[in-house]
Amino acid sequence: MSRIKGTQEGKMGWKTILTNVIYFAAIFFIAAFLYQSLSTSLLRN
């Protein structure tokens, strides 16, 4: 059970790792997109 649900004994299960990776990937791409926008629109001038 702990292996499936993850955090029970302080260990992280593969499902939690997967969801965390997806979550951080989304943050990374949004941040990259915003940085791209910032550099093309504002920092250019």
């Binding site: 969801t19 997806i22 943050i27 791409f29 949004i30 990259a32 997109f33 915003l34 926008s37 629109s41």
Partner: protein, 508 residues
Amino acid sequence: MGLTWYILGLLSTGSVILMWKLSRRYHMNPIGWSVPATGIILVLFSIAWSVGAVLEGVPRAASMGMLLFGLPGIAALTIGMRYVTTKLSLKVPDEIATTAIPLKEEFFQKKSEAVKTKAKKTGRMSGVIGYMAYISLFAAFVFGLYSDGKDYEGLLRLKMPDEKLVKVNDSPVVFQIGDKVEEKGQYVLIQEGQGYGGPFVIGIRINDDAKVHEVFPLENKETPAFAERVTKARYADQFIGKPVTDNFLVGDDIDAVTGATITTRAATEAIRRGAHTAAIDYFKFKKSWDKVPWAFGLKEILVIILFALAFFPTIVNKTPWKYLYMGSVIGIIGFYLNASISIGSLAGLLLGYIPGIQEHIIWWVLVIGTVLTILIAGKNIYCYRICPFYGIQFLLSRISGSRLNPSPAILKSARLTANTLLWASLMIIFLSRHPGIGSYEPFAMMFSLEGLGIQWYLLPVALIGSFFMSTFWCRFFCPCGRFLNRLVTIRKNIVIFFVRDKQVKETT
């Protein structure tokens, strides 16, 4: 590429071991074998495809590969695994399964308690940060307002370096080419038309034959992918040689660029205004062109019906109506019209970029309708009802049956993260006064398959995330939803403030 093959090798071995373990645990049948195996093959293929495409510098192909092969692969794998674990009988009785339920409850109870405690703490902190965020946004708004003012004159001179330009009018800006003459000279007018993202500024050259001779797009704030379509297409050519007294109406004497109707309308509006101003003011023609007609057709009727139906709880909550409604929203507002609201539309509203109602009824119904419903009734009817991207996520999560979440530590700070992203997006929009560039939602590209650079990576991540975590995008990232819900809260607080004030007065 070598590393990719190595990882693929490891994943393939892992998959074979997984299937072998399953076959030892369950009485496998052909479906139990074939569905997960197909899923595994599709996923591995999509990884190889995407990495190859990225290395070749074609992110769009990588994204398409992940969507076309990766997502069905994950779907097949999950459905296959669900089938095997729920429908097929065990070879060995599973003792762990009997203790699973109390453990599960305990786990979730602990998790929710942890989240609640942290929520209280972050609540106080975010109060202070919240005020600072509002102040900085206001400052950015004011700064953007005063720093906005591109040098169109300079841009125009760059485009026509050999001509002598004499400014003869300020509002709208009109230049005469060559020396000033009283009548029938050659002119360049700078005019703007309102799109969804902001003004589309165009320079129009009209010669002494009272015909349009050149159009120069000077600036636009449309979604870059759509603007690119309009400037790339031979859109501008259709104006050359047209008399200034023509109608200049999209769908009448002007053809829209497929898939970029709104941007086409904005650009055409600018050219129409330029030509008609010149016709009256400089060539002394009488008004002989048609008025801008109301664009009221099937599309507009469908959007009004869908918007109205969102007010009926039975339709949006009860099966089978719910699925029928969701399907219509995905099909019509998503794929057919690609009219979903984004943070760009809402920020554009704050910046005063409001397109004319005659040609943009759909925008008015969805954006103004949603905001007015919040202001009047205090209800956000857009999210979880009209939003087609929610529909897509809901269906994905139904297919997977998975209700996963990131780890509790992440959940605790999820709200702060989402608010920070919304703040960053609004800051960029206000400072640049360009709503399209700060709008990071993948909606528009999901339904039109048009995007730029990094957006191509965000869409698959959002969809794969929604597959595993229900309403992944809405809960953790959607800036539009966050903005609308924030508006609901602000309205509620104002109402409470006034009601309390009234009650205090009544008691004293």
